[in-house]
Structures are given as structure tokens and as C-alpha cells.
């Protein structure tokens, strides 16, 4: 009797996830548009238009026992900071598009436009997911200034605790938006414990932190 290899999950994720999640998204869109009474019959073969009003970029991640699965369609950033300070950008920011154009779940052949990656959970780290407005406030995806911001954010959480940093985050992002990109911003911070060593992240007893990115010499 043959058994599937242990690493099958990762390869199957890469081949199946984009197609299946895109299809599931369309099912939800259709269900919602029917509920709202705005559904139009599908134009078989090229029926993309009916989804346009729901179009969105999407970044997803699933943290498993030994793996981190990541998928992205459209712009935005996903960065993993390992405990030793190493920064990994598992999804290349290169999209082949010009300027602010981006792909979305409603794009034609959206299932082919996903970029996926799998990482070892190993020693864990911090996964930061952000909309493009954040990196655009610095020097763009994978830019040194943006990555410095990311690392300093992790340092702030380690120093002051996640709740304190979260409390200040709205003001920081509003300020970046005002000063730079002008775009709306969403940032998700995920603390990933090491594969076997499950310990609570951060120190919640700390004081109000400074705005991250102001003291780059820490890094």
C-alpha cells in the first residue's frame, strides 16, 4: 500500500488553493448578490463582470503545526520576521503591472494570478500582513525603509507588548497616511510560536511605545 508523502500538503496547497479559494469566493459573491437582488445571470465562459463590484485583493496565511502556508492575489505585503531578526519576503512584490494597477479576485483568470509560498514554521517569528498603503508610505514593497519599519514594529511589540502597540497603531497608520501615501491601511500582526515551544508572545506590562521606525539604530 502506498502512502502519500509527508510534504504532500504543501505541494497540494500550491496547486489547489488558488483555484479552490477563488471559486469559493465567487460562490459567496453570487449568494450575496442574489440576497441583495442585484444578481445578473452568468455570461458563460467569460462571466467575470458580475463579480467586479465585489473585486478585492486578498492575502491569506494558515499557520500549521510545522508549516506556514501563504497566498496572495493583488498588491499588499506579507513579511516574516524570524526570532534572530532575519526578514523573509516569501511573495515577490513583482507583479508585471505598471503603477498602481493590481490584480483582484474579480480579474479574468484570477485563479492563475495567485502567488503562493510555503515556509517552515521552525522557530516561528512574527508574520506581518499589510495593505499596499503601508509600504507605499515608505519606499514600497521589499524596500529597506519599509523592512526597517517592520523590524522596528516587532521590536516595539517585544518591548511594550502587543496590546500597547495595537492601541497606538491607529494613530501611527493615520499619520503615515497623512504624510505619505494617503491610502487607507490595514495591518495584521501574527506572533507565531516555535514549532514545539508554545510560549505567550510579548510583554503586556510595558509603557506606551514610541512610533516605530524612528530609531533604526536599534537594528
Amino acid at each position: 500500500m502506498h502512502t502519500l508523502p509527508q510534504h504532500a500538503l504543501r505541494s497540494e496547497f500550491k496547486t489547489d488553493f488558488p483555484r479552490r479559494v477563488t471559486r469559493r469566493w465567487r460562490e459567496f459573491v453570487q449568494s450575496d448578490s442574489v440576497r441583495r437582488g442585484i444578481f445578473r445571470p452568468r455570461n458563460a465562459g467569460t462571466g467575470v463582470d458580475e463579480y467586479e463590484r465585489y473585486g478585492s485583493t486578498l492575502i491569506t496565511s494558515l499557520i500549521l503545526d510545522d508549516s506556514i502556508l501563504i497566498g496572495q492575489i493583488g498588491d499588499g505585503d506579507i513579511v516574516l520576521v524570524r526570532p534572530d531578526g532575519t526578514v523573509e519576503c516569501p511573495i515577490s512584490s513583482e507583479t508585471g503591472l505598471v503603477g498602481k494597477e493590481t490584480y483582484s479576485l474579480s480579474s479574468r483568470d484570477a485563479h492563475l494570478l495567485w502567488r503562493v509560498a510555503t515556509l517552515d514554521r521552525a522557530e516561528g517569528g512574527v508574520l506581518i500582513v499589510a495593505t499596499d498603503g503601508v509600504s507605499d508610505s515608505f519606499d514600497g514593497s521589499e524596500g529597506p525603509e519599509f523592512l526597517t519599519f517592520v523590524k522596528s514594529l516587532v521590536a516595539r511589540v517585544q518591548e511594550f507588548g502587543i496590546e500597547n502597540v495595537a492601541g497606538s497603531m491607529k494613530n501611527w497608520l493615520d499619520r503615515y497616511s497623512e504624510l505619505a501615501s494617503g491610502d487607507d491601511m490595514t495591518l495584521v500582526y501574527v506572533s507565531i510560536n516555535p514549532k514545539e515551544d508554545i510560549t505567550p508572545p510579548g510583554n503586556s506590562e510595558a509603557v506606551e511605545p514610541d512610533t516605530p521606525g524612528n530609531d533604526q539604530e536599534d537594528w
Partner: protein, 450 residues
């Protein structure tokens, strides 16, 4: 444990010390690192602890000792160069050449528009080289066992390819293997547990990969796959192994493409495929499913893609590539609907069958057109090339680029010896004897005459 930046590892057989520069990527079996040593920058695949087994170590040493298949076909394999170890660790990896990822693309990068979409000509070259390299590997007595798009990189412009992750290559029907392939590429008999990976099951995986390259879709992803809300292992076993049905099977409509946007690209790209390619896909995914002995061989794929590439004609209006029929006729341009006047062709009579090359300035006659290539040879040596006449506008000829003279016979009965470097005018009816093979310059009308 993964490797750290700056860490030193040792190339086992040569004793050369290598420094880890940075992580390049992460696969299912381990991580890949850029390393620096006295031979410059190279790459190391470092196995995860559970993959670093004595069997895998022995397999790597065997591959290092054996080396890749000979010739151009073998050079496309990014082959293990040496076993790599780290002091104080039972883990290991292997050294391999570094890949230029700016130049070479993965299929997923093309789908995501990060790298350019290959032209028909490049696609033919990619497909030809794939078949050519796997032919050489199989003739050397090895099977790959994990053929998939994830192991292929290609230059979208030239069509040159690289085959990566060769650490699972083994002796056909003998070696044990840690990898059973990616399920959607597995031959049905492997999924049904009635066979082990072999050169014969490689042929199925190769056909699936070629279908992905041309149609951007899996050959069995139709109504059956669409109907599974939960796409789990039992569902996959059913679609890929227990009852696979080709989505374009002309006699079984059970698994047609559903009317869903995800499937539009497959329908569209299938229509771009020339008739002989469609017929071959139909054969491999119908007869070849029922009887593995009837799968399309690498040699058949080679001849098919070489032949299709030779029939590409550029639309004079929009410059889109169009593929003429084997009889030289050509439909209106698929892109702008302009009527295309069929160009003159070179008809080649060989013991294995006739073939044609559509002629235009720059068209090349290659070694593979006039002789059966050896396992190690990709037949790409240029034997002749169509050139413009130096003084007469609109006139062209085919220049002898080989080292041996040709013998030409003209329609008026004259004959001439054509030494290397000289050209024969492109007059329909002219025959040229090249190394014992007769080629005829013909107008498309000549081809349809009985």
C-alpha cells in the same frame, strides 16, 4: 535545522568549504541556499531532517557519480554536483549550479504575468526540449518520478529549459524513492497502487505537463472535479486515478469543461492548439489512460513539436504567429482574421515520414530535420538558413551552412553542386540532396496535389 547565513558547509567529495550567503527558496523537501566557494556562487539544497535519510544520501552519491545524461539534452538537468555536509550534523544536502531566475521562469510566473508569455515558437521549443531531455534520461536507464511544472524552468523568449530537483531520479524499476510525485501528475496506475514510478509512468506525467504548458489547465479538471465541494484525497484519487476522463475526450462527454470562468482559459487555449497536437493529447489521455503501453513516447512528442514549430507563419498584418496545416494550408489569422498567403515550403522526405518547413527569411534547416538525433543530441545544429538575395529585392535562397556540399536539381533539368556557404534559390520544384536526404522546395499548391 535550516542553515544560517554565514555558516560553513563542506562539499564532501572535493573537500571545498562553502559559505552560506542567503536563502533562495523553500521546497517541500528542504531549503535552497546561495553559497560561495572557490568555484564562485552555487546553490545548495539542504534537506529537512526527516528527508535526510541514508537512502537519500546514497541516492545523491549515486547521481553525483553517474552524472547527467550526455550532450545538450543532459545539460538541461540541474544535476547534483556533490554531497554537502555540515560538521556536527547528520543533515546533508547537495551542491548544484545556480539558476538565473531573472532569465528562467516558472509556469506560475507566466500565469501571474510576472514573466512574459512564451510565443508559439518558444512553446514548441520548450516542449521539444522537455521531450528531448526526458528521452535522454530514460535512454540512460533512469526515471524521473516527479515530473511536474514545479520542476521546470524555461526562458520564455528562447524556449531553453532547465529541469530542477533531480535528486529523485533513480534507476528505472529498481531504486527506492522518497517522493511519489505530485498527485495531479501521477499516472493513474500509481494512484491505484498497481504500479511503481517508472519511465512508463513518467510518460503520463510528461503528457500532463505538456498539456499544462499549452492549455494552462489540468487534462482531467472538468465537471467531475468541479462537482467536488471538498477537494480531498479521496476526490483526487477518483479524478486522477480511479476514473480519469479527459476533458476533451471526443467519445466521452462525462467530464466536459463546466461553464465557469475558471475554465474559460482552457477552452480558449485548446482552440489555439493545432489539430495534430489536439489529436496527440486526445490519444495520450484516452488510449494512454486505458493502456500505459500506448502512451505517447518522448520521440513522438519531439517530432510533433519540431514539426509544429516548422509550420509557424507570421501574419503579415499583425505579426501574430499562426500555425499552418501539415498540407501547407493556413486559416485566416487567429488574431486579426487577415487572410494569409501560404508561404513556400521545404518538403523533407525521410524514411520515418515526410515533413514540411514553412519558409521565410531566417528560417533554419537543422540537423534534426535530416537525421534521427542521438539520445544525447538535440539536433539543433543549423544545416541551412534562408537568406535574402544580396542584390535582387524579394528574391531569397537557402544557404548551405553545413560542412558538406549539397546537390541541387532545378525544374529545368539543370543540376549544380552547392558547396558550404553557397545558396540555392527558392524556386518551387527545385530538389536538393543533403547528406542523402532529399528536400524539395514547393509551393503550397504542390503539396495538395496527389
Amino acid at each position: 535545522m535550516p542553515l544560517n547565513i554565514g555558516q560553513k558547509v563542506t562539499s564532501e567529495l572535493t573537500g571545498i568549504e562553502l559559505e552560506v550567503i542567503r536563502k533562495l527558496g523553500e521546497g517541500t523537501q528542504g531549503e535552497v541556499y546561495l553559497v560561495s566557494g572557490m568555484r564562485g556562487f552555487q546553490a545548495v539544497k539542504w534537506y529537512k531532517p526527516e528527508q535526510a535519510t541514508p537512502e537519500q544520501r546514497a541516492a545523491i552519491l549515486y547521481l553525483v557519480k553517474t552524472g547527467p545524461p550526455f550532450g545538450a539534452a543532459g545539460k538541461r538537468f540541474v544535476w547534483p554536483l556533490d554531497l554537502v555536509t555540515r560538521e556536527g550534523s547528520g543533515q546533508f544536502g547537495y551542491l548544484m549550479p545556480r539558476i538565473d531566475t531573472q532569465r528562467f521562469a516558472e509556469l506560475g510566473e507566466v500565469w501571474a504575468h510576472i514573466k512574459p508569455v512564451p510565443s508559439f515558437s518558444s512553446l514548441c521549443e520548450i516542449s521539444y526540449q522537455l521531450a528531448n531531455s526526458y528521452r535522454a534520461l530514460h535512454l540512460s536507464g533512469h526515471c524521473y518520478r516527479d515530473i511536474s511544472a514545479g520542476n521546470l524552468m524555461f526562458d520564455p523568449v528562447t524556449g531553453n529549459i532547465l529541469i530542477c530537483d533531480n535528486d529523485n531520479v533513480g534507476v528505472n524499476r529498481q531504486s527506492a524513492c522518497q517522493v511519489w510525485g505530485t498527485m495531479e501528475y501521477m499516472a493513474p496506475e500509481i494512484i491505484r497502487c498497481s504500479a511503481d514510478p517508472s519511465t512508463q509512468t513518467d510518460l503520463h506525467s510528461l503528457a500532463v505537463l505538456l498539456f499544462y504548458l499549452w492549455v494552462w489547465h489540468h487534462p482531467f479538471h472538468g465537471e467531475m472535479e468541479y462537482g467536488f465541494h471538498c477537494w480531498d484525497i479521496p476526490a483526487k484519487k477518483k479524478v486522477y486515478g480511479e476514473s480519469p476522463v479527459f476533458i476533451f475526450d471526443p467519445e466521452n462527454s462525462e467530464n466536459r469543461l463546466p461553464p465557469d470562468p475558471d475554465y474559460a482559459i482552457a477552452r480558449e487555449r485548446w482552440e489555439y492548439c493545432p489539430a495534430d497536437l489536439k489529436a496527440t493529447f486526445i490519444r495520450v489521455f484516452t488510449e494512454g489512460l486505458r493502456d500505459p503501453n500506448r502512451r505517447v513516447t518522448e520521440g513522438e512528442w519531439q517530432n510533433l513539436f519540431s514539426g509544429i514549430k516548422d509550420r509557424i507563419v507570421i501574419c503579415p498584418r499583425c505579426h501574430a504567429e499562426n500555425i499552418s496545416c501539415p498540407d501547407g494550408q493556413i486559416a485566416p489569422c487567429w488574431h486579426c482574421r487577415t487572410t494569409i498567403v501560404p508561404p513556400p515550403v521545404l518538403r523533407i522526405r525521410r524514411p520515418v515520414g515526410d515533413s514540411i518547413i514553412a519558409l521565410a527569411v531566417g528560417t533554419t534547416l537543422r540537423r534534426r530535420h535530416i537525421s534521427v538525433s542521438q539520445a544525447s543530441d538535440d539536433g539543433s545544429e543549423i544545416v541551412g538558413i534562408v537568406v535574402q538575395h544580396p542584390t535582387v529585392p524579394g528574391a531569397a535562397g537557402i544557404r548551405n551552412k553545413s560542412t558538406l556540399p549539397w546537390d541541387a536539381a532545378f525544374p529545368n533539368g539543370d543540376t549544380a553542386r552547392v558547396p558550404p556557404g553557397r545558396a540555392v534559390p527558392l524556386h518551387p520544384g527545385t530538389t536538393i540532396s543533403i547528406e542523402g536526404i532529399t528536400v524539395t522546395i514547393a509551393s503550397p499548391e504542390d503539396l495538395v496535389k496527389p
